[in-house]
């Protein structure tokens, strides 16, 4: 009720300056043509070079402490960075497994030695990280993991098979959970390992659409020193889960990605002919609204008072006190939004969708920079969203039980 602290969307000087710097740096430095696909040798090299360039400008990990290569800026600045990054259509981040999955865990559970040793290299993409979560019989049910870590002198020997490991074909290192005890949840340990170590075999998975870089990892008595255990032995499950919804709900996929894509979708709609036909208009607008909602939701999360940890409705007979589980809501939201966004785009492309809108479409409905592949590849990529990082079915159950407080069922 006080005007002094009234709601506003104004950026302070620092944030405005930051946005301007990021924008002008990207304008000057972002590649104008797409880099080759990440899962080729050329593309791997080009993406690593881009990351090094970004790191030199101290823009690869802006929210990290300066000691590790960051700028120690608040979450709002990270959102701004992401908005600018996606508007500039800068390259996909080859090290996102490290940056978004491993790094938050290192910050929470890693030792000072681990952070000092691993984070600066990650920030420069000296080490590119792969994730090694899933196994053939442990997808959604991560606690069913069977790959083992057996105690040996000064460390552990890993054996077993991991699958759906993104980036593994060209990455340097990987992280995942390994069985060190019998209990489903209490017998897992979080370990980091070298993909070039003896006993590691990586086999790319031939897949739909071709270009997203999954692989299987076979491990045969692969040595890992004690220094690469993350958190306590046998506590890997808790370590992994504690940062699943890291950064107070700011997630894996930033709103900037979707607001930029929604803008491109609007431009696609404008070029796709009959604007009196509003049958697709509403779907375009709904995507735009959802991207905007996600953006505003993230602003709210980023600017929340330090003493307030409850998302959404703070009162009422049902306490919607999500805490960390609010990340489940965000995950369902952006993943469904991503699928909807690309489905509308393909419907706008009509019969040209199957080729990504390339070349001969007389209406020129390809993507505005001519890379018509983007919508089609983006669609294939988007369909993985509701599946990975906990299927949306599991997320909905988590929301119902942990956020809404409905009675639990055996899974």
């Amino acid at each position: 009720m006080t005007q002094a602290s009234a709601m506003n969307l104004d950026l302070d000087d620092e944030a405005r300056t930051f946005r301007a710097e990021v924008r002008s740096w990207l304008t000057a430095n972002a590649p104008t043509a797409p880099l080759p696909p990440m899962d080729t040798a050329d593309g791997d090299a080009a993406h690593r070079a881009w990351e090094r360039h970004l790191a030199q400008a101290r823009l690869s990990v802006v929210s990290w402490p300066t000691a590790y290569g960051g700028r120690n800026v608040p979450p709002l600045h990270w959102l701004i960075f992401e908005e600018e990054y996606h508007l500039a259509r800068a390259p996909a981040r080859i090290n996102q497994n490290g940056l978004f999955l491993l790094a938050p865990t290192l910050f929470t559970h890693g030792t000072a030695e681990q952070r000092t040793r691993l984070l600066p290299r990650m920030a420069r993409a000296d080490d590119v990280w792969a994730q090694a979560w899933s196994e053939p019989d442990a997808g959604s049910d991560l606690a069913a993991i069977r790959s083992r870590a057996v105690r040996t002198d000064g460390g552990w020997l890993l054996s077993g098979q991991k699958t759906w490991s993104s980036r593994a074909a060209h990455a340097d290192r990987a992280f995942g959970l390994f069985r060190t005890g019998a209990d489903r949840h209490q017998g897992l340990t979080y370990l980091m390992f070298d993909l070039h170590a003896d006993g590691v075999t990586v086999r790319p998975i031939r897949q739909l659409g071709g270009a997203t870089g999954f692989a299987e990892i076979f491990l045969d008595r692969v040595f890992v020193p004690d220094a690469d255990v993350l958190g306590e032995v046998d506590q890997g499950w808790a370590v992994a889960m504690s940062t699943a919804g890291h950064e107070r709900g700011l997630s894996l996929r930033s709103p900037g990605r979707f607001t930029a894509a929604a803008q491109r979708l609007v431009r696609l709609w404008l070029r796709s002919g009959d604007q009196a036909d509003r049958s697709l208009r509403d779907r375009v607008v709904d995507v735009w609204i959802a991207a905007q909602a996600y953006r505003m939701h993230s602003y709210g999360t980023a600017t929340r008072r330090a003493d307030d940890h409850t998302p959404g409705q703070q009162r009422g007979p049902v306490a919607l006190s999500g805490g960390g589980h609010a990340a489940s809501m965000t995950k369902v939201y952006w993943s469904e939004l991503d699928v909807a966004l690309h489905e509308v785009a393909l419907d706008l492309l009509g019969p040209y969708a199957e080729t990504g809108g390339r070349r001969t479409d007389p209406a020129g409905r390809a993507d505005d920079d001519g890379s018509g592949d983007a919508w089609l590849d983006g669609y294939l990529f988007s369909l993985a969203g509701p599946i990975y990082a906990g299927t949306n079915e599991i997320q909905r159950t988590v929301i119902a039980e942990r956020v809404l407080g409905l009675p639990r069922d055996r899974r």
């Binding site: 609007v266 609204i289 909602a293 409705q313 909905r396 159950t397 009675p407």
Partner: protein, 335 residues
């Protein structure tokens, strides 16, 4: 940047919530629907005492000149309790309209009395708001045209699906103002009303989610609470997601109404579309989770269900609002 509630706003919501809980709104609403508005008018006077009716009134005319976010907070709570009466009209649209017109005589006549709760107002804005709600309790009935503002003369009564919305046709009365400035003021009023309507929808949707979660935890079928079934869980999770992500758009629209960037209408429309869709989903799911009992008036769901069914298409249809958004976003601008 601030896009969450301040401690003061949370306290304000809590005070309102407590007052409305104690006022026994279900009974008030039943009597309101039966053309006995006196208990409801008492509640409206309590709202005035808390400052709600003066939120959008300038201090010069005895109001609080509050930030639109405060109006959102209040209207969400009024929707959460399904308070009967011309909420969007009297609390948001009319004060905005008169203030925007800037006719001191009109302001002086009406605004102080609206702020103190001495009277409530209602209005029509054809075609978006074709009928007046509760004209019989309103000492001020307005009829806004494209470039005219008139007093409205209530005509035939109409039955709404929400029986607390006592609708009447309104015909033109005395001309109060005309000209392009009126058109612009009416546009402001329509945005203010749409935002208040959206906030009520969100509050009503939350009320239904809460009722559904409560019921699903208690109602037993096949030997276990129905809330243990995955299908029920997932339906309610989707309702929660819809409401959770609609809410920040309300705040963003409130900021836009305060600051009046060129995108203000777009932001109000986004909030209205998202809140209406989220509320509609909450209503459909609440009825499905409750089963037949949801149909019984004794379940108490009906106040929220029928309010939502009435409000989703009031103050601009979804299609109209989507059209405004597309017009705005295709007009350049990268915000």
């Amino acid at each position: 940047m601030i896009l969450t509630l301040s401690t003061e706003q949370e306290q304000f919501a809590t005070v309102l919530h407590t007052m409305l809980t104690e006022a026994d709104i279900p009974t008030v609403a039943q009597r309101w629907a039966a053309d006995d508005p006196s208990p409801g008018q008492l509640v409206w006077r309590q709202l005035a005492d808390l400052g709600v009716t003066g939120l959008a009134v300038p201090t010069r005319w005895g109001g609080l000149a509050a930030h639109p976010a405060d109006i959102v907070v209040a209207c969400e709570e009024l929707g959460h309790h399904a308070l009967p009466g011309p909420v969007a009209e009297s609390i948001a649209a009319i004060p905005t309209l008169l203030t925007a017109l800037g006719d001191d005589a009109l302001c002086e006549t009406w605004l102080p009395r609206l702020a103190t709760g001495e009277l409530v107002g209602t209005l029509t804005v054809p075609p978006h708001v074709p009928y007046a709600t509760d004209a019989d309790v309103a000492a001020l009935v307005l009829r806004a045209g494209a470039q005219t503002l008139r007093l409205g003369v209530p005509g035939a009564r109409l039955r709404s699906v929400d029986d607390t919305r006592r609708l009447t046709e309104v015909i033109d009365g005395a001309l109060l103002a005309d000209g392009p400035a009126v058109g612009s003021a009416v546009a402001h009023a329509l945005d203010a009303g749409a935002l208040a309507c959206a906030a009520q929808l969100l509050g009503a949707g939350h009320a239904l989610l809460e009722a559904s979660v409560r019921y699903a935890g208690q109602r037993t079928q096949f030997g276990r609470p129905v809330g243990q079934f995955q299908a029920v869980k997932h339906m309610l999770a989707d309702v929660a997601i819809g409401l959770e992500f609609a809410r920040p758009l309300l705040f963003a629209a409130a900021v836009a109404l305060a600051d009046q960037p060129p995108t203000a209408a777009r932001d109000v429309s986004a909030a209205k579309v998202a809140c209406a869709d989220a509320a509609r989903r909450a209503a459909r799911t609440a009825l499905q989770v409750h089963g037949a009992i949801g149909y019984a008036r004794e379940s108490g769901l009906d106040s929220w269900l029928t309010r939502i069914w009435a409000l989703v298409r009031a103050w601009g249809t979804q299609s109209w609002h989507r059209g405004r958004i597309m017009a705005a976003v295709t007009d350049g601008g990268r915000t």
